[in-house]
Amino acid sequence: MRSQSGTTQGPLVLGIETSCDETGVGLVRGTTLLADAIASSVDEHARFGGVVPEVASRAHLEAMVPTIERACETAEVRLDDVDAIAVTSGPGLAGALLVGVAAAKALAIGLGKPIYGVNHLAAHVAVDQLEHGPLPEPCLALLVSGGHSSLLEVADVTVGVQPLGATIDDAAGEAFDKVARLLGLPFPGGPHIDRQAREGQVTIDFPRGLTSRRDLERHRFDFSFSGLKTAVARWVEARQASGEPVPVADVAASFQEAVCDVLVRKALDAAAERGIEDLLIGGGVAANSRLRAMAVERAGARGVRVRVPRPGLCTDNGAMVAALGAELVARGRQPSALDLPADSSMPITTVVA
């Protein structure tokens, strides 16, 4: 029997992602997603309130081979069929990245195929091709997760990405985790805040970071979520001190509204200033239902089209790395050398290491 992958076009690329706590292995042919296998160590980190790097690295080692096997089974391909390997070489947790990079090199040696060490953020952008077809060029990308909050101008995702703004303190997802903890909600906080917020009302006017006139001069498209987190903590403490119950759903809704408001406002301002008509939102926080709804609603009024991959492709995964790898192969970009490093602070402007 001929597998489905045999009938579609383009290079078959296996992508590996281990920058944080997800071991992801994806298989993509051209812009067609064949498999997106994931193993997560998130449960092992929950009681620590955040990802413990050594725990994540150990889990990556254990999960690597089974996850590769699962991806091949799902895609109905043999490793021998793979045309190229792509792997996240940064940014991320150094020890965690290294497990993926070493595994990718072993595949490259064992198969005699090229390896592409790619930027995690560029992969978050490229993944949308699997769902919505070729990326508009240029497009604006808002990437928000527990590890990053960036506004990027993307002319060609295989060549370079220009940062327009980024968080100056906490990542947006980090703020979700911290506020969830204040409210007694489990880690990771994003889905729990989202769920609570749907039951609540926006009743509290929490501050919008870096939106004052003076801040906008220096930090036009930058974000700050540290002040917001502190404001929520103060509000909750004052409430507790007065002996009144904390309206968890309303606090969650109000906090979430403040985060989404700043993200969408700055993204649309950037689109207007740069004359870009397509906004792509990615990263774990892009799974937030309010962010999606607000972006679509406000962008429509300003003539901007919004693309958001489905939640499973927004969080870290191997498919996004494979998607970028396939695009690099399709465009004939140069692969990486076998001494490719894992670079925990890989600059956003570098697509292939």
């Binding site: 413990v52 080692l61 497990v99 595994a103 064992g110």
Partner: protein
């Protein structure tokens, strides 16, 4: 053709063994950077020996104990290569490979100890008989707690001369000896599982701090 490598000490070591003897061996030039150096060393060694990846029939990898980040590079490489080449990967305690070479150097005349650097002012340590068979360990401990008058192979002897007064060769593991150990079935073979010997550093956070 057996490919052997070890990443459990500051240097990467790789070797090829054809069933009769070691046919090629290399050690990394730089300390650390295991992830950058291992794959090019394997690739270069195969070329040097005029071999292709399909010639490989088995893998041997040092399972430590050793610093975790480097150790994992060797283990994930062995596991993944074994998967893609469809060949077995055997794990060998890194200290055992050092011990076989040390026993040879000592002329199989005395019991001895292998001690490597565990950082944090500790060593990874195991005790061996004159043939290089492991008697106890491996453990991780402070040098003072495991000080010995016996000969000591491994970097530990150089790092802690007061506790280990009789340093002997070798200081580092050699993949050649690792390969011999496996080819000649002179050590206990395990799955390619890491010997961490330490739990991850992690603490459960206290309640959120007050901000006001």
């Amino acid at each position: 053709m057996l490919l052997a490598f070890d990443t459990a000490t500051p240097f990467v070591t790789v070797a090829l063994h054809d069933g009769e003897d070691v046919v090629a061996e290399r050690r990394s030039e730089q300390r650390m950077k295991h992830g950058e150096q291992l794959a090019p060393l394997i690739d270069g060694l195969l070329r040097e020996a005029g071999l292709v990846r399909q010639d490989l029939t088995a893998l041997a990898v040092g399972t430590g104990p050793g610093p975790f980040t480097g150790l994992r590079v060797g283990l994930v490489t062995a596991r993944t290569l074994a998967l893609v080449l469809d060949i077995p990967a055997y794990g060998v305690c890194t200290l055992d490979a050092i011990a076989l070479e040390a026993a040879e150097g000592l002329g199989h005349s005395t019991d001895f100890v292998v001690a490597t650097d565990a950082r944090r002012k500790e060593v990874y340590l195991a005790a061996y008989d004159e043939q290089g068979a492991r008697l106890s360990g491996p453990v991780v401990d402070r040098p003072a707690a495991v000080a010995t008058e016996l000969p000591v192979a491994g970097e530990g002897a150089r790092l802690y001369p007061e506790q280990f007064s009789r340093p002997v060769a070798p200081e580092l593991p050699s993949a050649g000896w690792l390969a011999r150990a496996v080819a000649e079935e002179r050590v206990e073979l395990t799955d390619p599982e890491p010997r961490y010997l330490r739990r991850p550093d992690a603490s459960v956070p206290a309640a959120p701090k007050k901000v006001s």
